[in-house]
């Protein structure tokens, strides 16, 4: 007998396809680009655009695992402190005479360890929300960075290290290539693997996922560890761009990153959203900052715009959902 097929894909419909939040983002992104081109003749200049992209991509590496974290209906606000801690440890080891490649590996290891600690605490203390645990570890990690470097700056890295943040492959910035590679990797991981499906399952209903055999705890630990690792990757690029580091680097990155993820249509209640949305949001906010900066709009006005954009991004689906039942009747 032919087994009955249950398709898990809805039939394709143009209306549904173009009503997705990601298209909204594309439209917003185009609007921002058109606005920028009209505002300043310098925007559509390849060299400018390229260099601006290099400027905002450093924190984009954290956006990728943060999508996973928020899909699980969790949140990680310690990432910026992990960036600071791993960067500070790397710089400190290097000035103490550890060879740079080893220091970079230790930087990645420190980030991974910090993320793993977050994950373990969250799994072992399920009654505590991830906000509180990562709030505490955020203060601790930043605190350790201060203990190590106090108010000093450490730097004077070897010349080749600046390639990470400033180098080009052909005429394409290395950081952009790295970001695209990571983005593809994380996108495939989320949308094409069992692991990714399990993330959605946990985000939608953690209990049901556990009863259907998903190893919820293990996945949570992996996701938070990934967040730590990618924070350390950000630390590498950021440190390379700045040429030196201080314990107060990357302050406020966590909020920027969360804003990008939420703007990208990933629901904070878990289980909804796609990687591409967050990636578009990275470029949306980046171009918005860069373009308005070109025409000397104050950074402070930008704060207001980004804040409103964030609320708008969350409120629209919310209002849509509220209206939906009425429509059906």
């Amino acid at each position: 007998m032919q087994p009955r097929m249950i398709t898990n894909k809805l039939e394709f419909s143009f209306k549904r396809f173009f009503l997705q939040w990601e298209w909204m983002l594309v439209v917003l992104l185009l609007a921002v680009i058109v606005m920028n081109v009209n505002l300043s003749e310098y925007f559509w200049d390849y060299a400018n655009l390229r260099d601006a992209t290099m400027g905002f991509l450093d924190k984009a590496f954290i956006v990728l695992p943060m999508v996973f974290v928020i899909l699980l209906a969790d949140i990680d606000i310690s990432v910026a402190s992990i960036v600071a801690l791993s960067s500070v440890i790397m710089a400190d080891l290097y000035t103490m005479g550890v060879p740079m490649p080893l220091a970079m590996i230790i930087c990645l290891a420190v980030g991974t360890l910090c993320g793993w600690v977050n994950g373990m605490l969250i799994v072992k203390f399920k009654e505590l929300s991830s906000v509180i645990i990562t709030l505490a570890t955020m203060i601790i990690y930043r605190g350790i960075a201060y203990m190590i470097l106090e108010d000093q700056a450490a730097g004077s890295f070897p010349d080749w290290f600046s390639f990470l943040g400033w180098g080009y492959v052909g005429s394409i910035p290395f950081i952009l290539i790295a970001f695209i590679l990571f983005a593809v990797l994380f996108g495939v991981l989320l949308h094409k693997t069992v692991f990714g499906r399990q993330l959605y399952a946990i985000g939608n209903n953690g209990t049901a996922a556990r009863f259907s055999g998903v190893k919820v705890d293990r996945i949570k630990i992996i996701v938070f560890t990934l967040a730590g690792l990618m924070a350390a990757v950000t630390a590498l690029f950021l440190t390379s761009r700045m040429g030196s580091t201080r314990p107060n680097v990357a302050t406020g990155y966590e909020l920027d990153v969360i804003a990008m993820v939420v703007l990208g249509g990933i629901s904070t209640s878990g289980g909804k959203g796609r990687m591409i949305g967050a990636i578009i949001a990275v470029f949306l906010i980046g171009f918005l900052r860069y373009g308005l900066g070109l025409v000397n709009v104050q950074a402070q006005v930008l704060l207001i715009i980004i804040g409103l954009l964030l609320i708008f991004a969350v409120a629209v689906p919310q209002l849509k959902r509220a209206k939906l039942p009425a429509k059906k009747m």
Binding site: L128, I139, R142, Y146, T268, Q300, Q318
Partner: protein, 349 residues
């Protein structure tokens, strides 16, 4: 059927005897949670006092309390927000905005009584808090996202209203600066205001219907709604109170430090949340006491004041504070597990 009923009835008699003989340590600690925190504060004070005798002098204690007063005022509002399962990250920005507007007003009209500035700041804060409350209660946006967005907006407004400039001590009239340095009935104004707010909050939370409804909404929003409580209104109210308190705190802050800047109190919301968590306010909602919040604020205040006094490097303070917060949160969780297990044991019986 009867047989089964009998056998379970039999179990009823045996189990409690066992439960009574083994009172869980967790329950004991939980009952005296505030006492434990108080004990920790006393031990810490004695330890610091042994290292540096100038710690428990009247001057230093007064100083410490003055520095903690603003934190304490904000922590009361934050407690109400957290009790409803929310969180407010925008308070640092609201504080800066209302402080800036108040400072600009007193600079332009130096003859204005300081009380008017305080009211103005509170009004600005109320307005901001109402906006946040609307987003959370009516638009249904998660508190952490709504307040994160509004934090950016308010911070941006602060820079826009000030044009990026500072307002420094010499621009402010003396009467305004005296707001924070003056005394009422021999007590520093800041402490006096904080005490007034604590008394008002105690009465509000424990002895009014609206106050109790806040806890009802926090412990179970669905059943609160079913029992006729307008959860939207309660949420809105809570954020409005939080906003007003931040507005008031903004004026006090500017008066105390005699300077208003765009980045005033940035990141201060985390200290306030930490004070609440230390004081036993549960992020899961529905749990939190005024007495706990007082002790939590005082503990943070002591840590800020005492660590420099016993020659702890200022660079170690962040790490030490973070570790204490994490330890307090984890210990709290472990204790609560013990309590829950105990309840479960009793219920089975």
């Amino acid at each position: 059927m009867q047989q089964r009923g009998y056998s379970t009835a039999g179990a009823v008699i045996e189990a409690p005897a066992e439960a009574r003989t083994k009172p869980s340590l967790g329950v004991k600690i939980a009952k005296f949670r505030e006492l434990g925190l108080l004990g920790f504060i006393i031990l810490l004070s004695i330890g610091v006092q042994l290292r540096n005798p100038s710690f428990l002098t009247w001057e230093n204690v007064n100083d410490m309390m003055t520095n903690t007063a603003i934190l304490g005022i904000l922590a009361v509002g934050m407690m109400l927000v957290i009790v409803t399962r929310g969180i407010d990250l925008s308070i640092g920005a609201i504080l800066a905005l209302s402080g800036m507007i108040a400072a600009q007003t007193v600079t332009a009209y130096p003859e204005l009584p300081p009380m008017a500035a305080l009211l103005l700041g509170t009004a600005v804060g109320l307005l901001c808090g109402t906006a946040v409350g609307w987003l959370v209660s009516k638009a249904g946006i998660l508190p952490i996202i709504a307040t994160l967005g509004m934090m950016n907006v308010f911070r941006g407004f602060t820079y826009v209203t000030s044009g990026g400039k500072w307002i420094s001590a010499h621009q402010m009239p003396d009467s305004f600066k005296a707001l924070a340095t003056g005394t009422t009935l021999g007590i520093n104004n800041l402490i006096f205001i904080a005490v007034l707010i604590y008394i008002a909050a105690y009465c509000f939370v424990n002895h009014t219907r609206t106050g109790r409804r806040i806890y009802a909404v926090g412990s179970n929003p669905e059943s609160a709604a079913i029992s006729g409580i307008s959860t939207d209104k309660i949420l809105w109210l809570v954020y409005a109170i939080m906003g007003s308190l931040s507005g008031m705190a903004g004026v006090l802050w500017v008066s105390k430090f005699a300077s208003a800047q765009g980045d005033t109190a940035s990141g201060y919301e985390l200290s306030v949340i930490a004070a609440c968590v230390l004081g036993g306010v549960s992020i899961a909602g529905g749990v939190g006491k005024i007495s706990g919040v007082i002790l939590g604020s005082i503990l943070l205040g002591i840590l800020n004041n005492a660590l420099p006094l016993i020659d702890v490097s200022p660079f170690w303070q962040t790490g030490i504070q973070g570790s204490i917060i994490l330890a307090a949160v984890l210990v709290n969780a472990v204790v609560k597990r013990g309590v829950d297990r105990n309840h479960l044991m009793r219920r089975k019986i």
